[in-house]
Amino acid sequence: MAKTSNEQTENLSESSAQIASPPNWYKIVYGWLRNAQSSVLAIIGGLLIGALIIALTGENPILGYSELFQGAFSRFNIPSTLNRAAPIVGAALAVSIAFRAGLINLGVEGQLVFGGLTASLVAVTLPAPDYLRLPIALLAGILAGGLYALLSAWFQFRFGVPILISSLLMNYPAIYFASYLVSGPFGEQLSGVAQSPMVPESARLASLVQGSRLNAGAFIILALVFILALVIKRSAAGYELRMRGLNINFARYGGIAVKPLGYKVMLASGMIAGVVGAIEVLGVHYRYIDTALTAPLYAWIGIMAALLSNLNPIGVLLTGLFLSALQTGGYGMERHTDIPRELALVLQAIIIMFVATRGTFRLGTED
């Protein structure tokens, strides 16, 4: 008897110790692996099917993939991969924060365009001392993106238009309004191209690598990654945001003001999109060029990067980089083999399909 009770208390203290002990490092790593598992498997699955497709066209998949890798990560190409990754990661952050709060913001493209347009407009026309030109132009772009997103939120909360629809449709007015401005009233005269005048040197973000368009804006995006990771996971506001997205009724029941929070999150999401647009204008093109922000599909690839990472800001850094590498690598593959770079897009699509099976496509699932 005495022995049994002894054993029981031992078991009890053991289990309570297990509960009480803070997570140790291997648990954390294991957790990451488990979370990343489906995304990693999706990528491997996509690459395998891609290899099959390359083989079917009569090309060598190993050669194709090695050129793809070279095209993305060789010393010469890596700045271009990073430069493309920056806006994708930024857009993915904008998407992640909104999705985490249960707000399906599909208007990142419009918010990005609006931010870029405003930044270029302010940078060119602002009557300000040179040292203020860059920060003010950046800030104006951020605000423009945020306010534009706020409009979509207002449509949902005031008129009951689902944010998915309102934000998606708001892309078009932004894109075509910008198009009109730079081909007319705010266009560069004489050039004959739909673009704004060049922004003055004082308003430009510094270039990081000579001969490349990689610029200081990448650091802004990198900083945003860590700030958002911290805010979402560690702050009271982030907690409220997560609960809103996990179960909005639970949040409301617990006294979280879900509507004001919804406005704030959309404002933040739009501001992030705005800064991405502003960085593209002030750091890459030095002007707003019609379709330059929309043709590369930053916002849409950003959605993919966000979903692929499970809406995790740190994960977005990796998935954004991966999707960017797939695209720049695609050019390399096309240059050196007969495999068209569109295959990279096919790969991307297949990987997203695999991700969509999340939950069923997982190691160790029995049913």
Binding site: S15, S16, Q18, I19, A20, P22, P23, L230, R234, S235, A236, A237, Y239, E240, R242, M243, L246, N247, N249, F250, A251, R252, Y253, G254, G255, I256, A257
Partner: protein
């Protein structure tokens, strides 16, 4: 004997629950049979077995003397059985005709023959005096008419046995009279009807025989002409008390919650609560007894701030909170254990820590707005131990817990707020016996700590075991108030089922208050 439908020895088990325990039921052609019993007595399970939604673990069903087994409702529909569910299965954006013919559309050269469909709907509607316009959209119709569309659907599929699950729960008294006229008409045309209800007046009014279920067993088959509501009620509630909760007499002090003339409409604008007045004092558990769906939901939603009341006032510790937000109510001292724990009380996909931290996220943050994760974790670990929540790790998602342990998470969080008022809505529903005891003991401990507790429960045992004072709610009205020591199950049962307003001794509580 020529029974339309006969069940012999039906047994149905769910994990941890014996829902039907050797149930025999025999219904003749042209009969109206009422199936009565408390929540969880096994009525709906039994009807779902006849309808083919569930397969019985034991026993046989005979239809017109032939044994049969249904693997899905498609079989039972083909065999002439129709069911009108409590929540209608209709497409709101389609017309009456489209809804009725859906799934077995009349065709003309492979295309749907709408004219023919409309014709059939009109014929049926006239034959049974249903008065339904076949071209109206379902969303434009009042609830009573939507119910008739459901009946039309069954008739269109040539049902001659109709099962109605609490058909009057959603109807106004006038709509109810209309429904009963239709039921009588159907029976006179040779249809057989089984309907589930809690309301004994309706049983007396419409049925030929009442079958009473209690704890999954049939306790009585009573010929309506020879029985009384009192007798039916005694068979419904007359059972041994399963759980005895030990508690000292209450020592109530100052009034914490006062509700005056509160009226609430639901989203459709239908009154669900009318002129309810009640009060709860510190150090007492006040029970709201009543069959589910008699206005408890409206009362609780208005109290917790999830909907705005139409009229009336709510005061918490003397302050008017009638129009304040949920956050303000919680700040002023209100905790709420909701009945819908998975939809409202928890975020299932996240950790126990997150779930226990709701409402504490600001309080337990640094001045920069960052959560004190260590503190939140420690609180959670303590709560897990104090409340006996069975889990290996507080990082685990709540959806890995059993129902009872989920409820303990809700309970622990709401108790940790240390609010003067705790609203507990069906706190032990769907929870296993061991957890029930744990939850009851905790509620009493909170009472003894000086909290005011408002307990809403459809389980009379729970009300009688826990409450110190009881209000009875029926049909949106508070119809009785008594001290628990003076209440009997029988008397409460009569009030709860609307049989009488005087069946139980109504104590003048104001007098009791001045004494206490």
């Amino acid at each position: 004997m020529n029974y339309h439908v006969e069940l012999r020895g039906i047994v149905k088990r769910f994990p941890g629950v014996l829902a039907n325990d050797h149930v025999d039921l025999a219904v003749k052609c042209g009969e109206i049979r009422a199936l009565v019993g408390e929540n969880g007595a096994g009525k709906s399970t039994l009807m779902n077995i006849i309808y083919g939604l569930y397969q019985p673990d034991e026993g046989t069903i005979y239809l017109n003397g032939q044994p049969l087994s249904f693997s899905s409702p498609l079989d039972s529909i083909a065999a002439g059985i129709g069911m009108v569910h409590q929540h209608f299965m209709l497409f709101p954006s389609l017309t009456v005709t489209e809804n009725v013919i859906y799934g077995s559309e009349p065709t003309h050269r492979t295309l749907i023959d709408r004219k023919m469909g409309k014709q059939r709907v009109l014929e049926l509607s006239e034959a049974y005096n249903l008065q339904v316009d076949p071209d109206r959209k379902v969303s434009e119709l009042p609830v009573g008419v939507q119910q008739r569309v459901e009946i039309l659907k069954a008739l269109y599929r040539k049902a001659d046995l109709l099962i109605l699950d609490e058909p009057t729960a959603v109807l106004t008294p006038q709509e109810k009279d209309g429904l009963f006229d239709i039921l009588r008409r159907l029976v006179s045309e040779g249809k057989t009807i089984i309907f589930i209800t809690h309301k004994l007046q309706e049983v007396m009014e419409i049925s030929d025989i009442a079958t009473v279920l209690r704890g999954g067993k049939v306790t009585a088959n009573l010929r309506t002409a020879d029985t009384s509501p009192e007798e039916i009620c005694s068979h419904m509630v007359g059972r041994e008390v399963l759980l005895r909760v030990e508690k000292k007499p209450s020592q109530p002090t100052e009034t914490v919650l006062t509700v005056e003339d509160l009226s609430v409409n639901d989203q459709r604008g239908v009154p669900v609560l009318q002129n309810a007045s009640l009060s709860v004092r510190a150090g007492e558990i006040v029970g709201i007894a009543g069959v589910a769906g008699n206005g408890q939901e409206g009362l609780i939603q208005a109290l917790s701030g999830l909907i705005k009341p139409k009229t009336g006032r709510i005061r918490l510790s003397g302050k008017d909170i009638t129009n304040t937000s949920v956050a303000e109510r919680r700040a002023k001292g209100m905790s709420y254990i909701p009945e819908d724990r998975t939809g409202l009380g928890l975020a299932l996909d996240t950790s126990i820590i997150d779930n226990l931290s709701l409402g504490f996220q600001r309080e337990h943050s640094s001045s920069f707005g960052f959560l004190r994760l260590g503190l939140l974790r420690e609180r959670t670990v303590n709560a897990v131990q104090d409340f006996g929540i069975k889990t290996a790790n507080v990082e685990d998602a709540v959806n890995t817990l059993s129902g009872g342990n989920m409820q303990k998470v809700v309970l622990a969080r709401e108790f940790l707020h240390n609010s003067p008022l705790i609203i507990a809505e069906q706190p032990t529903r769907g929870v296993d016996v061991a957890a029930i005891e744990n939850i009851h003991r905790n509620l009493i401990a909170q009472r003894d700590d000086g909290h005011a507790i408002l307990l809403v429960s459809a389980d009379l045992n729970e009300i009688l075991g826990l409450a110190d004072r009881i209000y009875v709610i029926f049909d949106g009205h508070i119809v009785g108030e008594m001290l628990a020591s003076e209440a009997t199950e029988y008397g409460l049962g009569l009030l709860m089922t609307g049989v009488t307003n005087e069946g139980a001794k109504i104590t003048n509580i104001m007098q009791g208050r001045t004494n206490g």
